[in-house]
Amino acid sequence: MTGRRTGAGPVPDTWILFDGGEVPAVAGEPVSAALLAAGVRTVCRGIRTGRPRGVVGIGTGEPGAQVRTEGPDPRPMAPATRVEAREGLRVSGLAGYGRLPEQAPARGGDARWAHCDVLVVGAGPAGIAAADAARAEGARVIIADEAPEPGGDARGGGRDAWAAATWRALARAPDVRALARTTVTGHYDHGEHAALERRGRDDLLWRIRARRTVLATGSTERPFAFQDDDLPGVMLAGAAAAYVRRHGVLPGERAVVAGCHDEALWAAAALHDGGARIAAVADARPRTGSAAREALRRRGVEVRTATSVLRAEAGADGGVAAALLAPVGPDGAARGEPVRVPCDLLAVSGGHDPAAPLAVQAGARLRWSAPHAAFLPEGLPPTTVCVGAAAGTRDAGAAEEEGRAAGAAAARAALGPPVAPPDPVHTGPLGPLAGAPVGGLPDVMRSRGASAQGHGGEGVGGPAAPATPAASSGSEADAPAMALFCVTGPGTDAARVYVDLQRDAALSDIRAAIAAGMDSIELIKRHTTIGTGPDQGRTCGTVASGITAHLLGRTMDEVGGTTPRPPYAPVPFTALAGRARGDLIDPLRRTPMQPWHEAHGAVYEDVGQWRRARYYPRGREDMHAAVLRECTAARTGVAALDASTLGKIVVAGRDAGTFLDRLYTGNLSTLKPGRCRYGLLCTADGMVLDDGVIARLPDGAYLVSTTSGNAETVLDHMEEWSQTEWPELCVHVFNATDAWAVVSLVGPRSRDVMRRLAPGMDVSQEAFRFMDLREGEVAGVRARVLRVSFTGELTFEVNVPSWYGLAVWEAAMDAGADLGITPYGTETMHVLRAEKGFIVVGHETDGSVTPLDLGMDWALSRTKDFVGKRSLRRPDTARGDRPQLVGLLPEDPGTVLAEGAQLIGGAPGPGAPRARSQGWVTSSYDSAALGRSFALGLLRSGRARHGEVVHAVHLDTAVPVRVADPVFYDREGSRKDG
């Protein structure tokens, strides 16, 4: 049995299940603490090696114990140090890969925005002080911390009461948000940050926009590498001590502590005070800090200097049973015979890396500081400042002072008048401070210097004082920290010197990468996979850089570190999605008639964001049968289409006509009020952008209709030309798409229905001609009626304010009931228009088709210029062998071609020449009116090839088809008047 509760902490009040076995736990403590207290050493397995792994750290930097949880806080994969124990929690160890729950999703997700003057990341001494000072200046503050409780790395020391009280006060203060269990996962442009708040089963993703950011992100303790450093029972020294101080959990009975800085010695003292037997303390430095050495001496522990761990030895349970200690040089090379020291806890520490990913994302560079034996951020932009352990300040008191000054300065800068960013020339090595715009930000360099030199550990660690690393200095004047990354000796097996436990990547992998010629840390990362695990190299990144620097004979700055891209911690997709899931994933635009379609069993088709009725099956009809029936009704009786989705743009202003003349291919300024004209719209390169009917309203303005999916595109096109090219024209465009519902009454009997619906309107052929627009009452509602036709049949397009859309639709259905009025959907609409050879933008056009290709030169004005006109004379657009619109009749009238099928000349087959595509099928249907299948297509030189037989190839079938005129039905146009 190894590991127990010291009795100084809370008593277990609940149970969790670990791999099926009950483990007593204190509600709210990390699962790792409960496992250590219960003597569970092996928590999970290595991803490649299957070697046993246990708890290594505390907090987020956990390279060892990865678990999957179910119950109140379900997660496919999480470090055991970050899951809070609570009743009903079921925990199991993972072998490298997370596993989603059987019934997804286990977690709820939500997302929100928030804004503040000052965002403080981290709630250690520096962060809490910064937030409190910013609040006192009147700033809107958000402070976020990963842990359930405030205090940061200093938790368990003398500042807990202050931290808790200040946090509570912050949480109650107006305009302050104190977010626990919240990881700020990324810094983006313009002060935007993403943060993930964990709330039991739910996650809340915050998008925080901050004017100023104070990064008080603390540091991550890093190990150093040696053979079999991955054995359960090998832990980070500061983490082992923190389990004692914070949770009253002693991770081992007999401890060996090895480090290269004084904080590791203070950790040894804490383990001793927690009740562990200290079997040995090794320090790689020739000389240790005097205060820490003295503190250990008083506890009867002698420090072995210039000594470190060469190898760990496993016991029967697979966990550590002994440490082999050997004298080491400054480069980590072991000299001389190792000494075997039995232990069940091997607590190691190689130093502390400022948690700098957010600083780097904000623009900082990392520079190696020899006195800190760490990379420190520098060159931050003026909107971001880094304080406390994140800036290398190890002393908690100094960190608090730094934070207070930085928080107040950030608040003043955020609330002050906007100032121009400082000249980059003045942004010195500590950019944010030298270039501080307002009020003088604190000189962190000076306070850093103070912490490096002035806090020689006086008082701390004395007999009466608790041994608190956070209260001591990491770089005492008489013995600064040493950079130790790896300890090896002549017999070391480099394949078992693990650098990244999460990837099972070892020293031998780095050596292999370098031997293969890689000399950039980014390449070595990709070759070895070091730093690509769930913790993104938080504990092993600097170790990998240090080993690389040693192997290449370069400085730490020459090697540097890998780029810490967001997100800093894993973010579940459910949180990213927020409420954009299910039927809220995208807006579903509905017409006012939707309730009727719903009640009458419509089958839908989503067109852009619109939900449109595709057809209305009766009884057991399939689409084919329903569409043939709907087509017949439109050609022989009366049918109705909900055409409300048509784009509608009002173009007004003195020069509206001139403006439309310049944009559309036809003449529109000559259009008289109350008349309509078909129009084609091209882009500057001469390609068809959209088409539609343009009506002149009685008040002189124009009502332009667009393809349903194209309203915004056409509106933008109009705004662009009017604003950037022709600002001298007096023209204003309005989007009126949603203002009007449109009931399109189609067929030879539609006039009868109109007579009943609009008794006051003369709808006779003489009074209401094709391409007329009339205003008047329809079904008791003021309406605009257009006599246009997209089917070739007599059509009344009734436009009413959208509030009345449903009522007028229902009135039309009632009025036409005895005539067999038939609702039809988009599929029938397509068949009817294709029978007439009418194009649909997006079917017959794809951005590479000109009006000439479509045989629509009749729509092009010869007397005036329009956008795209010149491009139609380019050699390529004018050549005769471009793909041209044709009709296609399959030789077998029962075959409906596949849309998109390629057209080739001769029949393919063995021995036939390799066929080249000569075009493709753009629309293809079965037709009730024609009694056969038909299609439209674009075929090279197609207009000259009517009568020719080509082949339509789709997948493995080639179908012979005859090329024809694209107008199949009523070529004379005699039916449009009924």
């Binding site: 804004h115 949603d738 203002a739 619906l757 959208s802």
Partner: protein, 207 residues
């Protein structure tokens, strides 16, 4: 043949909002007014006579309901009136500005049914909106009488703060959201869902 019954209007979010702090102000008259941006001052002087209030500056609303005017871009205004008809509103505005052949390059369109107006009120209104709207809605930045065009979820909206701290707001927080009719169903469901999210967060989904 059946004589058409008196037609019933149906508002875009009808029946979606019972029992929440969200309600629909249906069938308001709405006119869009456009003038060349450099003529905005002159237009404001001419329109004020008819509207009873000047045209608002950037990011603001003027007037108090019958009508009120929202700034929706340089030279662009949305006039909302709870008492007039869209046609009456447009005719009056158009006449005030001198008609199509007046001195100004102005145009007016009756777009009453283009948008509906949702009203969101109550102490949680800002929190609910923050679940979908990226703007800073703190009263210090967006007080009563502020108007902005923004998005809520994936719907483009006009957002008007009518209640809360500001020159004309009362104590109670209230927003009016102008949304295009075809997006009203999506937006109403999104806001209802967001309100439930805020409620459950408040009621201690936190473990």
């Amino acid at each position: 043949m059946a004589e058409p019954a008196v037609p019933r209007r149906r508002s875009p979010a009808e029946g979606l909002l019972e029992g929440s702090h969200l309600s629909e102000l249906s069938f308001l008259a709405q006119a869009e007014l456009r003038v060349d941006a450099e003529e905005a001052d002159a237009a404001s002087r001419m329109a004020e006579q008819f509207l009873g209030c000047p045209l608002p500056g950037p990011g603001r609303a003027t007037g108090n309901g019958a009508p009120y005017v929202l700034w929706s871009g340089p030279g662009r205004y949305l006039v909302v009136d709870s008492e007039a008809t869209g046609r009456g509103l447009c005719a009056g505005l158009s006449a005030a500005l001198g008609g199509e052949y007046g001195r100004l390059c102005a145009a007016v369109a009756d777009l009453s049914a283009q948008r509906t107006v949702l009203e969101l009120s109550g102490p949680d209104a800002e929190e609910v909106l923050a679940r979908g709207c990226p703007m800073d809605l703190h009263p210090r930045e967006f007080g009563a009488g502020s108007y902005a065009q923004t998005v809520i979820g994936k719907a483009a909206v006009g957002l008007h703060r009518t209640g809360g701290p500001g020159p004309s707001g009362g104590d109670a927080t209230a927003f009016r959201i102008l949304v295009r009719a075809s997006f009203a169903d999506y937006l109403a469901r999104l806001l209802t869902d967001a309100a439930a999210g805020v409620r459950s967060a408040r009621e201690g989904a936190v473990v």
